[in-house]
């Protein structure tokens, strides 16, 4: 399987198949992230399309200096917030969290609902770093690069987010003794 860098070189030479491979590799990640920001399927699909249109516009001559997720994250974030403010100007992150799908079983429903409730009271920047770490599986350095903040700030935000979850009786079970 070609690396991102190899695919980008091929796309720079005008290879549509290499672009399709990149698209397939990051489509779901971009879509999930967009959905996380917008909380709306149609908006998320619009973000997906605009993100890859933006990426396409970078070719030829595109050079990747960090990981692809680090490059795409701020793009998806910016487009999502723009589309969200255009389509639903008064929607807050908390409302988006409230629109999260209902879990399947009663037991998981309970734990995930409680997790969602605790997440809802986290400051936006702490929740964002937490999700980047545990949903997007990004390293601390990748998070710092994507958000353009010092790595110390990333550690600090993550620390406070985890402390809040750890000390809340609804989410303390997520932590091993």
């Amino acid at each position: 399987m070609d690396s991102d860098q190899e695919l980008i070189e091929l796309v720079n030479k005008g290879d549509p198949d290499a672009f399709e491979a990149l698209y397939r590799r990051y489509r779901d990640w971009v879509y999930h992230l967009a959905w996380r920001f917008t909380g709306n399927q149609q908006d998320a699909l619009d973000v997906l399309q605009e993100t890859f249109t933006y990426l396409l516009g970078k070719f030829p001559g595109f050079s990747l200096t960090a990981s692809m997720t680090t490059f795409l994250y701020p793009v998806v974030r910016h487009i999502s917030l723009t589309i969200r403010s255009k389509n639903r100007p008064f929607t807050t992150d908390e409302e988006i969290l409230g629109e999260l799908p209902a879990p399947a079983s009663k037991e998981t429903q309970s734990s995930r609902s409680e997790l969602a409730a605790v997440l809802a009271v986290l400051p936006d920047e702490q929740r964002e770093v937490l999700l980047m770490r545990f949903v997007d599986d990004m390293t601390l350095q990748e998070i710092a690069t994507a958000l353009n903040i010092p790595i110390g700030t990333v550690k600090s935000r993550l620390h406070h987010a985890l402390q809040r979850l750890r000390h809340d009786r609804r989410t303390r079970d997520y932590f091993l003794e």
Binding site: G14, P16, R36, T153, V154, Y174
Partner: protein
């Protein structure tokens, strides 16, 4: 915009149950997947743009190559014209002819001694008329020998000056003979 200093504890990260990540992923997973129509739309767009840009890039590159080639051809042509116009070998032969004309003592070199020799002849030849008359026998003899350097029909001090000048000039040019 100061944040409370707290360090993200890598050990704490290790003590987090994998369930947290799993639940977060479930919570933030869109209910619907990306429709295949959107995939096709994005790939069609990529195909169009990449092929179009690739051809534009290639055409531009070819035009550039032809431009460079044409410029190089013009330069080479102009240079060759300049070379043919430059009287390279002719210059040498004219120098030889000129040098032979002023090589009074016929020793194969044009130097200040030729000027002295000519000066001596001029001084001793016709004392009444410093300019040796073209009709006088001495004058004719000297002209026959090619000592009328400046070709004015007279052999006089002006010819001595011409020889002296030629001697100096040839000397500066490292000589021809």
């Amino acid at each position: 915009m100061t944040e409370k200093k707290g360090h993200f504890d890598e050990d704490l990260d290790l003590r987090i149950s994998p369930k947290l990540s799993a639940d977060l992923n479930t919570l933030f997973k869109p209910q619907f997947s990306v429709p295949s129509e959107l995939d096709r739309a994005i790939m069609d767009q990529a195909n169009r743009r990449l092929v179009q840009r690739h051809w534009r890039h290639r055409v531009f590159r070819h035009i550039s190559i032809w431009r460079i080639a044409a410029a190089a051809a013009v330069i080479i042509f102009a240079f060759s014209l300049n070379l043919t116009q430059k009287p390279g070998p002719t210059t040498t032969s004219s120098f030889i002819v000129e040098a032979q004309a002023v090589d009074i003592d016929r020793n194969g070199r044009v130097d200040i001694l030729d000027a002295f020799k000519l000066a001596r002849y001029v001084e001793s030849a016709d004392l009444t008329d410093k300019n040796l008359s073209p009709v006088s026998s001495t004058g004719q003899a000297l002209r026959k020998q090619g000592w009328d350097i400046n070709g004015d029909g007279l052999v006089n001090r002006n010819d001595v000056d011409s020889v002296a000048l030629a001697a100096v000039r040839l000397d500066k040019n490292k000589g021809v003979l």
